[in-house]
């Protein structure tokens, strides 16, 4: 469908609507608006964003597919309960500023969430339109519309700074600068508190900057959100490792912080524990992506001093979004062959359907029901091959996914020059080692109550350090919840105090 045809269709639909003749059957008949994207063969040679976003006409057409269900089941699928129905109606009406305003009531990072949220298992899974077609891919593209509204807002060139309540003199420390921390910092700053954000790296944004690649989430989008925080008066301290530079105890007893939010993420890569995992050319996904994204190793020798091995044949182990990111980054770094090795089948992959689709389009070879059991090195201890074994699916395990069972004598080898292990992250032990009273569960995640409060008074936590490896939106939800709890806690304290006087 070309833009002119789209415009014509939109005009017809709007006319019908004006006359009150627009029926659900008309809405069902609107074709799903495909996301414009860079050609696969072209994009695998650059780091520019893969998808380029809806045009206004496309956005309005897609929004008109929404039936406006009274019960709005989509909202129940959203971890932060965005008023989806209303913002989509606003887009259909061409009122984009209003749409963005509605989203921002609940989500601080629409440009990010519109891009990286797994909508197909959240809002879009519940969409009546998708259910009618018995295909979640035919649901209203809520995520793309969210992104459209956010990008439209950015183009208006005025990033509005939220209103700040009267200053309270309450000092809040936010540890980490990922999605949960950004929201926690913004919401506590909005309540008038004096907020300082601490980041261990020399750049802010957490996993959105070191982990998620540029081609999926442009870094300038994240930077804009950080800029807004600074405009709101949030102080940002980089190169500051809480637990090492100062402990939480010191921040509270010596530096005068009244509250602390811990949002340090799940930064401890898991390895498989197989032979050869320390050979040269074996990377954790974190290391590979950090070199490539944060340190811009794709520009090595031309604007970056951080090297990365430029492999010709590479295997990525895992089936999540991070495994897809690594595979696609490897292609952009010049790999000729990228094999994705996964123990289960594509159906069980935790990665988003869209990411799997993009990876395949770009030429990543999916090898499912296989997993490495040994990495083989050459005389210089560099990776030269990987020995794999084949699997079949057995009975479902406690996660409900069918358990992979190794097939005896099915070993085979693949020649390679690098392996990336992308099988997840554990909890980083740094805060635990230096905060004796903080309670952790057996996986090293911080234990919190329903308001994200930890076992220490005045300390809250959220995101992956609480949830294990989760999503941007869930981290955001927790940052919001924790901030609300922090604000409530101090509002009560302040009113008690004024009551005493």
């Amino acid at each position: 469908m070309i833009e002119k045809e789209r415009q014509q269709l939109l005009d017809e639909l709007l006319e019908k609507q004006k006359q009150g003749r627009l029926k659900p059957s008309d809405r069902f008949a609107i074709p799903c608006q495909q996301m414009p994207q860079q050609d696969a063969m072209e994009r695998k040679n650059n780091v520019e964003e893969v998808t380029t976003g809806y045009s206004e006409t496309q956005a309005r057409l897609e929004a008109m597919r929404c039936l406006g269900c009274k019960t709005a089941p989509c909202v129940n699928g959203c971890p932060v309960r965005i008023n989806i129905k209303d913002f989509i109606t606003a887009i259909a009406d061409g009122e984009f500023a209003k749409a963005l305003g509605i989203i921002k009531e609940n989500s601080l990072l629409p440009a990010v969430c519109g891009r990286v949220c797994p909508q197909e298992v959240q809002c879009q899974e519940k969409c009546t339109v998708g259910l009618k077609f018995k295909d979640v891919n035919k649901a209203v593209s809520i995520g793309r519309l969210e992104r459209f509204a956010a990008d439209w807002g950015d183009k208006q060139n005025e990033k509005d700074v939220p209103k700040i309540a009267a200053k309270t003199k309450i000092k809040v420390a936010v540890i980490g600068s990922g999605p949960g921390s950004i929201v926690a910092a913004a919401d506590t700053a909005r309540a008038g508190h004096d907020v300082t954000m601490f980041e261990a790296f020399h750049k802010t944004g957490g996993v959105m900057v070191y982990g998620i690649p540029e081609f999926r989430l442009p870094k300038k989008i994240v930077q804009k959100e950080i800029d807004v925080l600074e405009k709101m008066g949030v102080k940002i301290v980089r190169n500051f490792i809480v637990g090492k530079t100062r402990t939480i105890e010191q921040l509270m007893s010596e530096d005068g912080f009244d509250a602390v939010y811990i949002g340090v993420g799940a930064g401890l890569p898991k390895f498989m524990g197989i032979e050869g995992e320390s050979l040269v050319g074996v990377y954790s996904a974190n290391e590979y992506l950090t070199r490539a994204n944060l340190m811009k190793a794709y520009k090595f020798g031309n604007g970056s001093d951080t090297p990365i091995i430029r492999s010709k044949k590479i295997a990525v182990v895992g089936g999540g979004n991070v495994a897809m990111d690594c595979s696609r980054m490897a292609l952009r770094l010049g790999a000729e062959k990228v094999y994705l090795l996964y123990r289960r089948t594509e159906k069980e992959m935790p990665a988003r359907v869209e990411e799997v689709h993009h990876a395949k389009e770009e030429g990543v070879e999916f090898h499912t029901l296989q997993s490495p059991q040994k990495i083989i090195g050459d005389e210089n201890s560099c990776v030269k091959a990987v020995e794999c074994i084949k699997y079949e699916l057995g009975e479902p395990d406690e996660s409900g996914r069918r358990r992979p069972v190794a097939i005896e004598n099915s070993e085979f080898t693949i020649d390679l020059d690098a392996v990336i292990i992308a099988i997840g992250n554990g909890a980083n032990p740094l805060i635990g080692q230096t905060t004796p009273n903080l309670k952790f569960n057996k996986w090293g995640n911080i234990i919190v109550d329903e308001n994200c409060k930890t076992s220490i008074d005045g300390v809250w936590a959220g995101g992956d350090i609480v949830l294990g490896s989760a999503t941007v939106i869930l981290a955001m939800g927790q940052g919001r919840g924790a901030a609300a709890a922090i604000n409530k806690y101090f509002a009560e304290k302040l009113s008690e105090r004024s009551g005493d006087n």
Partner: protein, 307 residues
Amino acid sequence: MAESGFERNFIFGRVKKMSHKIIHKEQLSENVFAIDVSAELIASAAKPGQFIILAINSEYSERIPLTIAASNAEKGTIRLIWQRLGKTTTELADLKVGETIENIAGPLGKPTHLENFGLVVCVGGGIGCAPLLPIATALKKQGNKIISILGARNKELLILESEFAAISDELIVTTDDGSLGRKALVTEPLKEICQRKQKPDKVFVIGPAVMMKFCCEVTKQFDVPTDVSLNTIMIDGTGMCGGCRVEIGGETKFVCVDGPEFDGHKVNFDLMLKRLNAYKNHEQKALEQYKEHKCKIGLDKKTERKK
């Protein structure tokens, strides 16, 4: 309440971009440099055995780990000593007093376990003498008797001899060519000391991986507990990337959060040596480019004239 270093930082408005000014600089040998650089928060938190990660520039620089050779909480400075090898260490050596390093994060790693062991041998090789000095100094303060063995390829490359002399009960210097002290490798006197009537209670070795490997082979024969400090390739230094991983007694450990000090008898040095060389070609390329760039903008000439 007294102002903490943190509060002072805010008052001076430096916290937003805690840039780190070079206060003092010296050249210890042809390729070894030392600076005192302002890093108030790190200086007040640093303990012997810990390290920092620095990136000269936020946009293009790589992140490299360097051990804290000394820290002065009062002045708010830390001392860094490094060897000019690749591009980043060369660029660092080209910085002058008054210039700044954009990013320094730390102190990282677990501090040295200090106690009164009794007789301690401290073995430093080349640039390894720098991180060894604060450890030896602290061990001396704990009441240990210190024998220091310092080794270098030649007289010019030996650093910190007088500093070690001041805190050692016995000091042995070795050079490969005999231009200073004994013409020997450090393993020779180490072995002799292990054979003495009073066997050492503990040995600390810091130096090139190869040297640490052979020292550990010696002390293992005599069953003397030996700690080594490893300096591997790192990015974040907080346990996030796993690039620094080493094999200790068959288990994977991260130098940044589990170390940098380990039981030397359990370290798989051969694998570590290979991992250290992972980017050798890249490093050479980057260094050549940097030198070429310096020629073009005339930086090399400026330094020439100054000499």
